[in-house]
Symmetry: C2
Subunit: 323 residues, 2 copies
């Protein structure tokens, strides 16, 4: 039986990935320090005896024999990652070192989840993997952005120097059940506000755009990526300028924040919420949209869940939760 380790396994994405790995027949160990992850997210998984949970902080070394490691641990929303910026950066950088060391010594495959935030406030649109990004190294978002960039560097260097089989995805905005209701991100904010009949806050003029990927689409991409032989991946990237196997995963459908708010209100017709406007936070990117050509070519993958459907499922989850 194949064994998988998922850091951040009790988080939003980690819990979906653990569920999928169990479905696929894996023995699954979820590591989480429960700073943003919650045991609620993984309650249903405990019914499966192939599932284990370990309360552990990835800034500390962890040891075990696994075939596949999925490195997801890091607070990912500004309200969380700015709570303790130094710990946020450490979870990215030291967590990456610890997982790379584990992969190196046990010859495990490693999937590292990077982020569209490494592109910062992009000057290239849509973002291709060869784009270097536009990131502030000393701002209030830097603990996340630079921590994640530094983790990418470590992954690339462990691959080049020590031949670790590390693959990377850069995840664009993703949403779905198990999102933290108070993570301050736009989809959870809007749904929570609409359900509570509170005003829906748009930052800036609401015309900044985002792309929204439903969680199961992402998990499908991650599993397909890890199912590929290393030789296939090396051959695919040999002709690219990247030098390191990294692909964007996201939904290229582009919506303004205002359109999103209107869609949420359409799906919650009983809501009495209205749209209101507030100033844009520091360094908030104005546009972001993935170019997913590489993921299409390498994985034969593209997102399948339309926004209306994914939003409906997410709204359902938040309704259940608030009961």
């Amino acid at each position: 039986m194949k064994k998988a380790l998922v850091t951040g396994g009790a988080g939003f994405l980690g819990s979906h990935l653990c569920a999928r790995l169990l479905d696929d027949g894996y023995e699954v160990t979820a590591l989480d320090n429960l700073f943003t992850g919650t045991k609620e997210n993984i309650y249903p998984l405990f019914e499966n005896h192939r599932f284990s949970f370990v309360l552990h902080d990835v800034t500390q070394p962890y040891w075990g024999q696994f075939d596949e490691i999925y490195n997801l641990a890091c607070p990912a929303s500004p309200v969380h990652y700015q709570h303790n910026p130094v710990e946020t950066l450490k979870s990215s950088v030291l967590g990456m070192m610890n997982m790379l060391d584990l992969a190196l010594k046990t010859k495990a495959k490693l999937l590292h989840t990077s982020t569209s935030e490494i592109y910062g406030d992009p000057l290239v649109h849509p973002q291709v993997e060869t784009y270097w990004g536009n990131v502030n190294s000393i701002g209030v978002r830097s603990c996340y952005d630079e921590g994640k960039r530094c983790a990418e560097t470590l992954a690339a260097d462990y691959r080049r120097e020590y031949n670790v089989d590390v693959r990377m995805v850069r995840i664009f905005n993703t949403y779905g059940p198990n999102m933290h209701p108070k993570d301050g991100r736009v989809i959870s904010n809007f749904i929570m506000q609409a359900l509570a009949n509170e005003d829906i806050t748009l930052f800036g003029d609401g015309m900044q755009t985002r792309s929204f990927q439903y969680c199961t689409d992402l998990v499908r991409a991650m599993r397909r990526y890890m199912s590929l032989d290393r030789a296939r991946i090396d051959a695919f990237f040999a002709g690219k300028k990247l030098g390191t196997p990294v692909i964007n995963t996201g939904n290229p459908g582009e919506y303004t924040i205002r359109q999103l708010a209107e869609e949420v209100l359409r799906l919650i017709p009983e809501s009495k919420s209205r749209l209101v406007f507030a100033p844009l936070p520091a360094d908030d990117p104005k546009r972001r949209k993935p170019d997913i050509t590489l993921a299409k070519e390498l994985l034969g993958w593209e997102p399948e869940v339309p926004l209306a459907e994914g939003l409906a499922r997410t709204i359902e989850y938040f309704k259940e939760r608030s009961k």
Copy 2:
């Protein structure tokens, strides 16, 4: 008596800084793992009983009571920092964490030396401190560039969160005696080649530009920066967009690589070297020149040593060395 700690104290810049601190009456402790630094650089300092050397790697915690910490440790030339990219990144990131923790717990002032490399291959010219840079996160230079960016982030966050009195300089190309003769950088390369009557290799067409700061100019800026009251620094940066006290230090005089080679040959008239051309290495920046407005305003500082004079002193050093 004031006590200073200098990490990388046996390196090129560290050795000049230690000498200057001794001249200024400090008790000086130089930390170095001697990977690129050498004890030769600090032989003369051992005559002063206020000087101590500790063989120590900054990736490991270090403890001591100091009034001022100068964090210089990190291999800084591609030939060295690419030797072991993971260790290079760790020396920046873990070294920074260790020095920030030390400064936090002992209430020491900390000067961190960042680098013009954080601007990468800049799209803004000359580089101002508010420019975010253009850096590849997964290339062969990333271990240095991203490690240094990540160190800046840590410094900014320790200042914001824990009120550590950290000041940063972004050092542009600096040269002088005690440079490593085989560091692969352009000035040491050219002088060594000219002295050995070997062909002088220009990468690309030789029209990429650099600015060259003489080492004592930089040390003077660092000392003046550390001599300022924190209140003065906070007041100065309060009106800036940076949020963190960081200033460029470099010589804004701009020379093409070809001009530099010709100047070296002019100063070594006995050399039989000729100019030859080789392909440009990956990610090599095409132009780099500091905007030093902030350093002028805050420190009342600007470089004083002209290129011809600094080169002559450096050539003298390399001639002595090779005897």
